[in-house]
Amino acid sequence: MPAMTVRKERKSAAAIEDSRFVVIDTELTGLDERRDSLVSIGAVRMQGGRIGMGDTFYRMINPRRSLTSESVLIHGITPSEVETKPAVDVVLREFLEYCGDDIIVGFCVSIDMGFLGREAERLFGHAVGNPAIDIQRVFEWLLGRGFFPGGAGVGLPRRYQLYDIARYFDIEVNGAHNALIDAFITAQIFQRFIPAVVRAGIKRSEELVGISRKFKGGERQHYFSGMFGF
């Protein structure tokens, strides 16, 4: 595991190419923050636009709530697989250590942050403090400015998911999926965004954090990655 970075005053104030990102994906038993819980966390680290192939994080978690048949079907994680896995407390501690104070990046990241935050609150009494970038928001923002071939996202379904964006950028999405592979796919998408946002005049990561917070998206709606109930 890499050494923790030295804390700077505000990580997100750094230039994009000097920023460290942790690109995450989580798998959940369901979408209800009160009843459902985390099944696995996957993450890949990026330094600027560079994805560290060996610097990854993946843990399965023994969920408090028993797996539903739906979630088993979607994630392919069976109850017997997670029974032997550590509890969320252990994994979250490891995960936050892995994150350090890097900027967290994800697709519809507010959901992931919600679940992670709830667990952190319960364990440490405070939410996860890392700034976060939502690539779905950034994507909409870029589409709105006419970036990418086809301008307004030609070829994308009206309600798109992570994999639709990936296919849009010709990123491989074949094979088995888990939180790590999806985090890796997310990282590759984010990687494609970086030259575009730089061209759009964005220099610092905090501007992307800002877009993720404020920008409400275009007309298109999206599915949350691997979600149900919508």
Partner: protein, 639 residues
């Protein structure tokens, strides 16, 4: 830890297993490599490394997309070094050198690379000889060859390459895996270690581990085998005890000087008092590209055909050697041209010496691919002779007699040197192609004014003529004459245009390649007929339209760019496509020669990399576009 072995890494390992030199690594070493790997994305047009800019911090392996490697010389245009596609790597030289980037590297497509950092690379360089060897061969020589030919705008065979000798530190090219053994072992044991390690030298150390001597292949040959010495003798009996060293930061020329001074082929390389490597004369030769130089010198020193013939037969060998060591394919044609030109001049010189001075001024001309300076491995004789118009019948008779004997001498001389006669008998030894200037002018004008298919075919071959020896004014005069009336000869040019547009690129409706359906070359594509010839032919057409004198396709294109308003904007693309096709063809032919086959022009598109496929399709698309322009231009004459 669990996460070290993720599915992501498995994918990368799978990829690297198919990529030299990583495929030489075992599974464990690959795991280590991958754990330190990162990945970057460059949109098309990104400048990844800049010449003379900071050195590369990474060795980059292309996962997807492609890059163009080129050098911007102090003056003149950019020099294309190479295109690299999926599985190819770049940045090693400046990574290892650590001083600056040697070339510009630009993404020609949206490109994804895996990045390996310096520490990891150095670890591989030190521990896996095959790894270093691969890169030395594939990188260094591309630069050497290009550098010595074009960057310095000097003659192809002399100079230029020497510059690297003065700028490259020995440490950079020295083999790092020095084999060592105790000086108390036997000659047989030493030889065993050397053949096992496939190295040409072995450093012997004394009881304290201090280098005491060196034994080389040459010692085994000169001091053991030829002397009948027992292999059970101690190696210390035959080792050289005077250890000649070079400092790692010494420039290569200093190392070369030492080798010449001490008449040795191996030099120990020392860094801060520690033995770090060995450099051989072969390493330096590779750097210097001396092989063609020495060949040219050897040729120069011959005075008879019999002396010349064995030297001439080395031309193909040397070309093979250059290619094998990674020399850039597109320059091979120029090296062949240069060497063949020299050889031919030498034969003509010897002929004049043996037969005495000619009764009239003459010029020896060559045409076809020789005329265009685009020869590859296999070359027939394609030549002719123009002599001064005789003023009297006596002169005419004397000239006939002399040039009859002279041209036969040259034909036989070339044959002895390995150039088969032209099957269509386009040779000066054929009286038809050994004529006074006036007759040549008549030939040319009759072909143009009465463009029968046969006449057009001849003009395609002969109009690419260039003078090689004798009085160039005669050839110039013929060229002037052609230029003076060809412009506006729409019927003739229309014939050429028709011929060009009939040769459709082999790309199907769905952008798939159209290949041979049956026969020996099933599923293959004739690169010469379908790729190179159309570009040569259309470039010739554009040049004739504008009375351009140059004969080589590249030189013609640069003139076309200046003077042909309609084609101007396509000149660069045409040049690019032509260079690429030639490169592909030479690489293909070399592979065949390597495999002991006769070189041909048939390639299998399935065996091309994605980047190559893409480029070749773009080239075919360009040919189609140009054909459309030609159709538009010659509309009334197209049938």
């Amino acid at each position: 830890m669990l996460f070290k072995k993720s599915l992501i890494n498995e994918d990368v390992i799978g990829f690297l297993k198919g990529v030299p030199p990583f495929q030489f690594l075992d599974e464990k070493a690959l795991q280590v490599v991958v754990s330190g790997l990162s990945m970057e994305y460059y949109p098309k047009g990104t400048i990844i490394l800049r010449q003379d800019g900071p050195p590369s911090e990474w060795l980059r392996v292309i996962k997807k997309g492609g890059v163009k490697v080129f050098i911007t010389p102090d003056k003149g245009e950019d020099v294309l070094i190479d295109y690299r596609g999926e599985g190819d790597a770049f940045g090693l030289l400046s990574l290892v050198g650590g001083d600056k980037s040697r070339a510009n590297i630009v993404a020609v497509d949206d490109t994804i690379c895996y990045l390996l950092d310096k520490t990891a690379v150095m670890k591989l360089v030190e521990s896996v000889p095959a790894f270093t060897e691969f890169f030395l061969k594939s990188f260094l020589n591309k630069f050497i060859d290009k550098t010595y030919e074009e960057m310095h705008n000097k003659s192809l065979l002399f100079g230029g390459g020497d510059k690297l000798l003065f700028t490259t530190p020995v440490g950079e090219i020295a083999a790092k895996n020095v084999r060592r053994a105790s000086d108390s072992i036997s000659i047989r044991e030493a030889a065993g270690i050397m053949s096992e390690g496939r190295c040409s030298s072995l450093v012997l150390t004394d009881g304290e581990g201090v280098p005491a001597g060196i034994v080389t292949d040459r010692d085994l040959r000169d001091k053991v085998v030829s002397k009948g010495r027992s292999a059970d003798d101690k190696v210390s009996d035959i080792m050289s005890v005077s250890l000649i060293k070079a400092e790692a930061r010494d420039y290569c020329f200093e190392a070369l000087l030492k080798m010449i001074r001490y008449n040795i082929h191996h030099l120990l390389v020392v860094d801060h008092g520690r033995l770090t490597g060995i450099v051989t004369n072969h390493d330096l030769m590779m750097l210097q590209g001396t092989s063609p130089i020495s060949l040219a010198r050897e040729m120069e020193s011959q005075h008879t055909i019999d002396g010349l013939a064995p030297v001439a037969r080395k031309i193909n060998e040397i070309v093979g050697l250059l290619l094998k060591e990674g020399a850039k394919a597109s320059n091979i044609t120029r090296i062949i041209t240069e060497l063949n030109d020299r050889l031919l001049k030498k034969i003509l010189e010897i002929g004049e010496k043996q037969l005495g001075a000619p009764p009239l001024r003459y010029c020896w001309i060559i045409f076809g691919s020789e005329g265009r300076k685009e020869q590859t491995f296999k070359t027939d004789q394609d030549n002719a002779l123009i002599y001064q118009d005789p003023r009297t019948e006596e002169e005419e008779a004397a000239a006939r007699t002399y040039f009859d004997v002279f041209s036969a001498f040259v034909r036989d001389g070339l044959l002895k040197c390995g150039f088969p006669p032209c099957p269509a008998n386009y040779m000066a030894s054929n009286p038809q192609w050994r004529q006074p200037l006036g007759v040549w002018k008549k030939y040319f004008s009759s072909w143009v004014y009465s463009p029968t298919p046969e006449a057009v075919l001849k003009s395609l071959i002969f109009f690419d003529f260039r003078p090689i020896y004798g009085d160039f004014a005669l050839a110039d005069s013929l060229r002037d004459f052609l230029g003076s009336f060809i412009e506006g000869q729409m019927v003739f040019l229309g014939y050429m245009a028709n011929m060009i547009i009939k040769n459709a690129p082999p790309v199907g409706f769905f952008r798939s390649f159209i290949v041979e359906k049956s026969g020996e070359h099933k599923n293959e594509l004739n690169l010469k007929v379908k790729g190179i010839a159309p570009l040569v032919d259309m470039t010739r057409l554009f040049s004739l339209e504008k009375g351009i004198r140059e004969t080589s396709t590249i030189e013609r294109l640069s003139e076309v760019r200046e003077r042909h308003t309609i084609v101007r904007e396509h000149a660069e693309e045409l040049e690019h496509a032509f260079e690429f096709m030639m490169l592909l063809r030479i690489q293909h032919q070399f592979e065949q020669i390597e495999a002991g086959k006769n070189p041909d022009n048939f390639i299998n598109p399935d065996r091309l990399s994605n980047l190559e496929k893409k480029t070749i399709k773009e080239s075919f698309a360009l040919i189609t576009r140009m054909q459309d322009i030609i159709i538009e231009r010659y509309k009334p004459l197209i049938w």
